[in-house]
Symmetry: C2
């Protein structure tokens, strides 16, 4: 699924500006989709031209004006239709796993740094997901994905903590 449709999906959680949509990508969607401003803003332009979203400008005090987007009925239907024909494809690119694959060729201090960074990142993600889970009332689907994320990342974290000693300095 491309950025345009993903933006429609993000708007199901309520009207939002491009900036706020980016935030949704970084929180709720963070463990399974990502998009940058350079993809989001042009996508929203296109969606507006196609009539799938509408836009109003909101003035704010001490903050720049916002362009707040809403789903139109066509937009809502378009997204739901897109879901039905979306294949459940997945692709993961992990340079962390790659580095671990070639651990024997990494300088010991680099290896330790990589392991620590990954541990911190996993803890951070689990924290974020846990806090999102508790703050807002979530749909069954959202709960499923949050719990799946927490489960999987926790399994990875525990694995890492158990196995990291395999790579401690004591040179074989």
């Amino acid at each position: 699924m491309n950025t345009s449709n993903l933006c429609l999906g993000a708007l199901f959680m309520g009207d939002a500006s491009g900036y706020e949509i980016k935030h949704r990508f970084e929180t709720t969607f963070s463990h399974f989709q990502q998009a940058s401003f350079g993809a989001i803003y042009p996508a929203l332009d296109k969606l507006e031209r196609e009539g799938l979203v509408s836009c109003r400008i909101e003035a704010q005090e001490k903050r720049p004006d916002k362009k707040v987007f809403s789903l139109t009925d066509t937009g809502r239907q378009h997204f739901i239709d897109a879901l039905q024909t979306t294949e459940p494809k997945e692709s993961c690119r992990s340079d962390f796993i790659l580095l671990m694959f070639y651990a024997e060729f990494l300088q010991p201090d680099k290896l330790q740094e990589v392991l620590e960074k990954q541990e911190a990142k996993l803890q951070q993600t689990i924290e974020t997901l846990t806090s999102i889970r508790s703050t807002r009332t979530q749909s069954p689907g959202a709960l499923f994905t949050l719990d799946l994320g927490i489960t999987v990342q926790t399994a990875a974290l525990e694995f890492l903590q158990q196995r990291k000693s395999d790579f401690s300095d004591t040179d074989q």
Copy 2:
């Protein structure tokens, strides 16, 4: 890390043709990196021009000729250097999780199909990783990544099996 460097990495497991390198991406690397022929063949060309790999042509009976690539010393060193400066970035794009996020908008039969496909895919991946783990003698790094893959995918599979009933027809 880009396809070129990944090809160098693949050649650490032994000399191989482009076709065989693709196979390594689909087995050993499958859970953390992927590349298509359209990326691999041009990458190997470039690596040869740069002197990072060498190439010999092997004639085969009842099979087309092969261009078998080997790492040169420079190539080996180039990859090891690249590892030291590679940041452990990760990006996952899962349309499966996306579909589950919006489960409430999916037609019930589509939802069931998606769940079944994902379960089958996870089982398949676990099987592949387990079989790779047992067949060849693996480096500590390779073992780590295989076990990590098995652990994480198993956690996901068990989660899915426990929770899939939440989405069974009994309409709320």
